[in-house]
Symmetry: C2
Subunit: 304 residues, 2 copies
Amino acid sequence: MDDVKVFLRYVFQTKNNLTIAVQTSGNGGNETILTNLLDPGDKLVVAVGGTWGEKVVDMAERHNLDTLVLRKGLGEIYTLEELEAAITQHKANMLFVTHGESTGGTLQVLEGVGDMCHKHNCLLAVDAIVSIASDPLFVDRKRMLGKKTPTPYYFDVKRLAVYWGCTEENRTFHYTFSSNMLAAVREALAQVCEEGLLTMWERHKKNARLFWKKLDEIGMECFVEKIENRFNGVTGVKIPKGTDQMEFLHFLKTKYAIDITPGHGPTLGKAMRVGLMGQNSRPEVVEYLIEALKDGLKHFGHTL
Amino acid sequence: MDDVKVFLRYVFQTKNNLTIAVQTSGNGGNETILTNLLDPGDKLVVAVGGTWGEKVVDMAERHNLDTLVLRKGLGEIYTLEELEAAITQHKANMLFVTHGESTGGTLQVLEGVGDMCHKHNCLLAVDAIVSIASDPLFVDRKRMLGKKTPTPYYFDVKRLAVYWGCTEENRTFHYTFSSNMLAAVREALAQVCEEGLLTMWERHKKNARLFWKKLDEIGMECFVEKIENRFNGVTGVKIPKGTDQMEFLHFLKTKYAIDITPGHGPTLGKAMRVGLMGQNSRPEVVEYLIEALKDGLKHFGHTL
């Protein structure tokens, strides 16, 4: 657990001693944020970018938060001015944004958002579950709001902080971690630390751009039109017209052992979501994938 | 996921189609029960048997339940009459018991408890995290209470049931499971199914009794005095007088690669908690452990 804390601080670029893993999914991570930092009735702005933001809206209702929901066209991101207008209008205690939104493949620009929130005494919560280590992210927390009502037991960060040895108190047990999950997390973090964030970001950027260029060459289109709104980890790719998405993905899986997830929510039936992250962000993987996509296009009767 | 459901139904001896795994710890499982079946103000009886029950009392407070807490001497379990008196007095909506309580090593007898609860229109919730497959347990649920207030997102069993394909609805995503955790759960369940519950229960019983007999021969004592209150998975063993628990456990770990957890909560400093479960419930493991304990006793100046 102690290694994991050190590795996490590097990956999140933070000096905050309270940097821990909660044993849960990304959604559970978001629910941990809401239930540890906000009381029922507190004011939240959710800048929805796709399915993940919608799930946070769902959570916010369950926890009786007073929520202002921002929604935009798919493939679009929010400007600093739009976010600032929303939090001042709503007098928000917290702004929630998704950094890399894998529904369509957008990257919410965070430049200046932290300082802007700080100015308005508003917490900034960021879901970076798919963008961490593929696109730059710099975290540092200024303070933690007092919370009056109890959190659910499992997600209680105060207790978790004691268990993870982030406080002056003696470590006491909170819940049992899965040893194989913890080992997997540790190893993944160790690999990021070994490669270095600058190298990783550059590698992901280079290979994402290579992929987008080659997609263009074979006549396929990215779901997110503006390059500056795309992120390096997951690219939404439009389904070729007249082709059934599931049949197309099935072809790639059975003939090429390439497993691509279909769109979901607003991208259902419109885009497939191609993840080129971690070990998959390599030029030879891009080449292999492009060959497979070309063969798929031919197979389903498209001319190249 | 489909295999896991079938295996789970066998292990829990239930025909209930809604038999799923939640990706969480045992504590998280208990919180899932409370938050899915009870509303704030609902009446709960917790029959505490050690640390795990106390944690449920903590959860119940966080979720504003009206809780009656039963506590007994360590090593003791509850009679059917005591449980019935409590739920009728409290007009309880739910009774919570821990089956195998690893704090001291007790097994709560469940014979007749289900029928008794049913008679009083009270749900029975059982934590069997350490006793499942080592001691007999027969589950079948008669009905599910209506719940008015929303559950936390992550623990929402209704949504999970859809994701696990337990309903007529099309499967929709709820949260991402860890693939290695799911694979580990599937493999563990497959091993239980392959061996068979009757064989497993008998094996655990035989090896637990062998261990207790040999403990007696080397002059060590079980923490739970009455044999009928002990369970087959975890045995609390009293620390030899005048010996520091942590030093004793460190000796076993470094010289014999045997990792025994110390007591916690009410057994802290009083008993070590020896788990002989699954692959460790074998006569040769018992023999090896007894030799190590004997050497430990000698090392710390005890006469055998």
